[in-house]
């Protein structure tokens, strides 16, 4: 197949829409293994080296030739040392056909390769002007030092091209380009998921990504970024590199890569490390196709705000009511769902943001008459407009801490990139990250978000931070006495309301003085309770004793802080679980608020599943369901 076949499919002259990309200062230079006379393109990482396509004349098997009588073969180049490269060589004889081979993609362990090539590789059928020999995707397995077991991709056919495959990092999805019918026109990007030991039906990435022209050369980076080349989206000219990301089932509008990487020439075939700090891409800005390297400056955020916790717990009162006990009236507050609280001032925790109606009825205690009947108050609760990091605030060394950055509340800010800074600068990452800290101490974790480019070409940024305390160990306190439930229990409260008893695990950090440590243990053991119970109103009265003991500890030890992590029960829909955990966290906050314990002394957070408990002996693979962890620590 001729090089121009690729040009037809992968390189299209764009209209002269020049978009002056905003350069982030990438350093771009040609690699030493790129020649000025031959073509090299579509690099991928492989065992410390780079596998790429080239028509360098390093063999005598030239047959199905391009205009300059050169075939594209799969080549490998490895490093001589930290700066020098060896001379490229043919990657594999087994994978070399008499036609054009490549580009390729490897599985994570390097034992599987997917590559594109012509479907028919019999010499007899070779015809330089024959365009009916379509491209297909093939796989091979590396066994005993050779590539073998070459198989065609399930969806190959003789009528359409399937090429430029790219496996995602965990190998469960393969991206590729194809001109199969049903697309947007030209080459389109598709993916197939691995299901039931085969690749599922191809899925077109849709019109946000695919255009009437050509989208190809996908590269599935880590953390969900999909890089690709297109001549259908606005760019600097020719084929430009973009990336997109699937968020909640939708692909975001492609983001044009840095103007140092893209050029008015054709830029395509990119590979990058997980952080996008360095990588390689293909370009014909020097006439022939060459592989260039790029390295990026670190992303910086001017300032990071400390995360503010959302609060859904409020005290309701009648501003006109004089707080004198000589007014014999009953205030009855109806919060809906059967929740009624009485008193001139009541506290209530809403499950989350939204619009709520609170109805107040005031009854004259002396006459029984209704003074005010169902006076309605509309409460509109909004989350604080900020990125958010949901995580433990406390953990132990060598235990992964999970950070969830998905719970953001920003208007007109569509996230394109999550950048995490665990003390080593901002690096691209996924919305959900884990980090294992090796040493005890206090760490500041920052989450930076990049948004979609605005009409002025500016990329909006947001950043938040939070502090994480890491301890060498946490001393688990086993409460003595009754209520040693190890599982979630269903009990019936005297009022007939169904409630749930959640086991409590108590931990003490090693920075608490011994006498304080002993005092806390003694007080907690007095309650003899190891569960907290919740019903629809919140925490039930049977839990007050334990909570009051905890409140007492915090009052008597003003230098002590309590972190509460709540993992709600699994018996609801998965989507509800985080909400339920957060609701219970709010209820506990409310309870401590009524006991005059401020947020500086107690913080309650709700989590969904999959968080291992802090107990070091518990495997990280175990997901926890229905548990409340209390961690007493020094402020």
């Amino acid at each position: 197949m001729r090089k121009h076949f690729y040009i037809i499919f992968f390189t299209t002259l764009l209209t002269n829409v020049v978009l002056q990309g905003q350069s982030q200062g990438f350093i771009v230079k040609p690699t030493p293994f790129s020649s000025s006379t031959f073509d090299e393109f579509s690099p991928v990482f492989y065992e410390g080296g780079i596998v790429f396509c080239s028509n360098q004349s390093n063999n005598s098997l030239v047959s199905y030739q391009d205009e300059q009588s050169r075939l594209f073969k799969i080549c490998l180049v490895t490093k001589k040392d930290s700066t020098e490269w060896k001379y490229p060589k043919l990657f594999s004889k087994e994978l070399t056909s008499d036609f054009n081979d490549g580009p390729v993609t490897f599985s994570k362990n390097g034992n599987f390769i997917y590559y594109s090539r012509n479907n028919s590789i019999k010499n007899l059928l070779r015809n330089i002007s024959d365009t009916s020999n379509k491209l297909g995707i093939y796989s091979a397995e590396f066994i005993n030092g050779i590539w073998t077991n070459i198989k065609p991709f399930t969806h190959n056919n003789q009528s359409n091209n399937f090429c430029t495959p790219s496996l995602d990092p965990d190998g469960s999805r393969i991206y590729f380009s194809s001109d199969m019918p049903g697309g947007s026109g030209g080459m389109d990007l598709y993916y197939c998921d691995w299901r039931n030991d085969d690749w599922d039906q191809p899925v077109n990435l849709g019109p946000v990504v695919n255009t009437q022209k050509n989208e190809s050369f996908p590269f599935a980076g880590r953390y969900g970024r999909l890089y690709f080349a297109s001549d259908g989206h606005n760019g600097l000219g020719g084929k430009d590199l973009f990336y997109t990301r699937e968020i909640n089932g939708d692909w975001i509008a492609p983001v044009h890569l840095d103007s140092a990487i893209n050029s008015p020439a054709d830029d395509f075939g990119l590979v990058a490390d997980s952080t996008f700090k360095y990588g390689y891409f293909s370009t014909n800005r020097r006439k022939s196709d060459d592989i260039f390297s790029f390295s990026s400056p670190p992303v910086e955020f001017a300032s990071c705000d400390t995360i503010k916790e959302d609060n859904y717990c409020f005290t309701f009162f009648d501003e006109l009511h004089s707080q004198i006990d000589t007014i014999p009236v009953i205030y009855r507050w109806d919060f809906g769902n059967g929740i009624v609280r009485t008193g001139p001032e009541v506290s209530h925790c809403f499950p989350g943001p939204g619009e709520y109606s609170v109805m107040l009825t005031i009854i004259d205690e002396l006459t029984g008459n209704v003074i005010a009947d169902k006076v309605t108050y509309k409460a509109e609760l909004e989350n604080i407009k900020q990125p958010y990091i949901n995580s433990y605030n406390v953990s132990i060394v060598d235990k992964p801490v999970f950070f969830d950055g998905q719970k953001i509340n920003l208007i007109d800010f569509r996230v394109t990139d999550y950048l995490w800074n665990f003390g080593d600068g901002f690096n691209p990452g996924a919305p959900f990250m884990s980090k294992t800290f090796k040493n005890e101490g206090e760490y500041t974790v920052r989450l930076g978000l990049l948004g979609e480019e605005d009409t002025l070409g500016l990329i909006p940024k947001k950043c938040v931070m939070k502090k994480i305390r890491i301890y060498d160990n946490l001393q688990e306190l086993t409460l003595k006495g009754r209520g040693e439930e190890s599982e979630v229990l269903r009990v019936t409260e005297p009022v007939g309301e169904q409630s749930k008893a959640i086991p409590v695990k108590i931990y003490l950090t090693d920075d608490l003085p011994q006498n304080q440590n002993a005092g806390i243990k003694e007080v907690l053991n007095k309650s003899g309770l190891s569960t907290l119970k919740f019903d629809q109103y919140g925490v039930t009265s049977s839990s007050y004793q334990l909570l009051d003991n905890i409140a007492g500890i915090l009052k008597e030890n003003p230098d002590t802080r309590l972190e509460i992590a709540i993992h709600a029960t699994e018996d609801r829909a998965p989507g509800d679980k985080l909400m339920l955990s957060e609701k219970w966290a709010q209820e506990l906050s409310r309870y401590f608020k009524t006991r005059k314990i401020g947020m500086e002394s107690v913080r309650c957070k709700g989590f969904s599943t999959a968080h291992p408990v802090l107990k070091p002996s518990v495997s990280d693979n175990i997901t926890i369901d229905g548990i409340i962890e209390l961690i007493f620590m020094k402020k």
């Binding site: 009162f317 005031i362 005010a372």
Partner: protein, 319 residues
């Protein structure tokens, strides 16, 4: 805006049909008015033996009206006997300019020319079975005889009941009627007073209420009550007050309690509620009540509350 414009507005806008009611009106749940003879002791619940009421005849009323008094005599089983009936009480009707607008007429003290205006009719009643438990009608009065007060939406007549002699309590009530022989209400008519002398019900379950109108100048009011005899509690309701307790007077003394007025209460009616002692039955309790603003200007009690009975509107807040 002048408070009187508010009154007119409320008179027009109120959804309650405004008919001339007895004074006291049914809504007040007050059985009767009371005036003691001029020689009575104030310990019996009347501080000055004189009650001044005004009646408002709406401008639309052009036919004659009558002021009718029920049980005007001082004798019989309704009135309060003190060792033999010996009391004479005079009822006088005043019309014309000044009958209301003279500041003395609006004072809670019997000083100056509180009998301002033109004396249109007057009659004194002693112990006379002819009027016992019966209605007596003053009139007819041409409505145009009343003092024209645009601010109040009509013409005003003044009725002064004053104990002349004796020490018994004359118990009575009024009615503004278009008929001399029966009580036919005057649509849009109303009674008001600046100092309310009345007899409480003996029924412990009865709750009496009176309705002063708070003007727009008020930033605070003083509620005074006389000779409450510790008969339960007195409290205030308004759009912004949900039962504030008043200090209560004991035997033969005045007690004053000041309350702030918030913006929502300006140009609105407040309700003063009298709840009798639930533990001890106190009979024949007479009480005098007055309300003044921070300037000492008396506020009128309308028997039909302007704007209707106030309904407390809580101001819900969350923090």
């Amino acid at each position: 805006m002048n408070r009187y414009l508010y009154i007119i507005f409320f008179l027009l806008a109120s959804r309650i049909p405004l008919f001339s009611q007895p004074a006291p009106a049914a809504e007040e749940n007050i059985p009767y008015l009371i005036t003691f003879g001029g020689n009575a002791e104030t310990t019996w619940g009347d501080d000055d033996f004189c009650q001044i009421f005004f009646c408002v005849i709406p401008s639309s009323q052009t036919d004659p009206v009558y002021i009718r008094i029920f049980d005007p005599d001082t004798g019989g089983d309704l009135d309060e006997l003190k060792a033999g009936f010996n009391t004479v009480v005079n009822f006088s009707i005043y019309t014309g300019d000044g009958c209301w607008s003279d500041t003395s007429a609006q004072s809670i003290y019997l000083s100056g020319n509180f009998r301002s205006g033109y004396l249109a009719s007057s009659k004194s009643f002693g112990s006379d079975p002819k009027y016992n438990n019966k209605w007596y009608s003053f009139g007819p009065f041409n409505p145009f005889e009343g003092e024209n007060v645009d601010k109040l939406g009509g013409r005003v007549l003044k009725i002064i009941a004053q104990g002349i002699s004796g020490d018994d309590g004359n118990i009575y009530k009024y009615f503004l009627s278009t008929s001399p022989s029966e009580n036919i209400p005057v649509e849009g008519g109303n009674f008001f007073t600046y100092k309310y002398h009345f007899r409480l019900s003996d029924d412990q379950k009865h709750v009496c209420q009176i309705y002063p109108f708070v003007d727009e100048e008020a930033i605070s009011i003083e509620i005074s009550n006389f000779d409450w005899d510790n008969d339960g509690i007195i409290r205030i309701f308004s759009v912004a007050k949900n039962g504030y307790l008043c200090d209560v007077s004991g035997e033969d003394n005045w007690v004053v309690r000041k309350f702030p007025i918030v913006s929502e209460e300006k140009n609105s009616t407040i309700e003063i509620q009298f709840i009798k002692n639930q533990f001890e039955q106190i009979r024949n309790n007479n009480v005098v009540v007055a309300v003044r603003n921070q300037y000492g200007i008396a506020l009128p009690f309308y028997v039909i509350p302007i704007g209707g009975i106030p309904v407390y509107s809580p101001k819900i807040r969350m923090r």
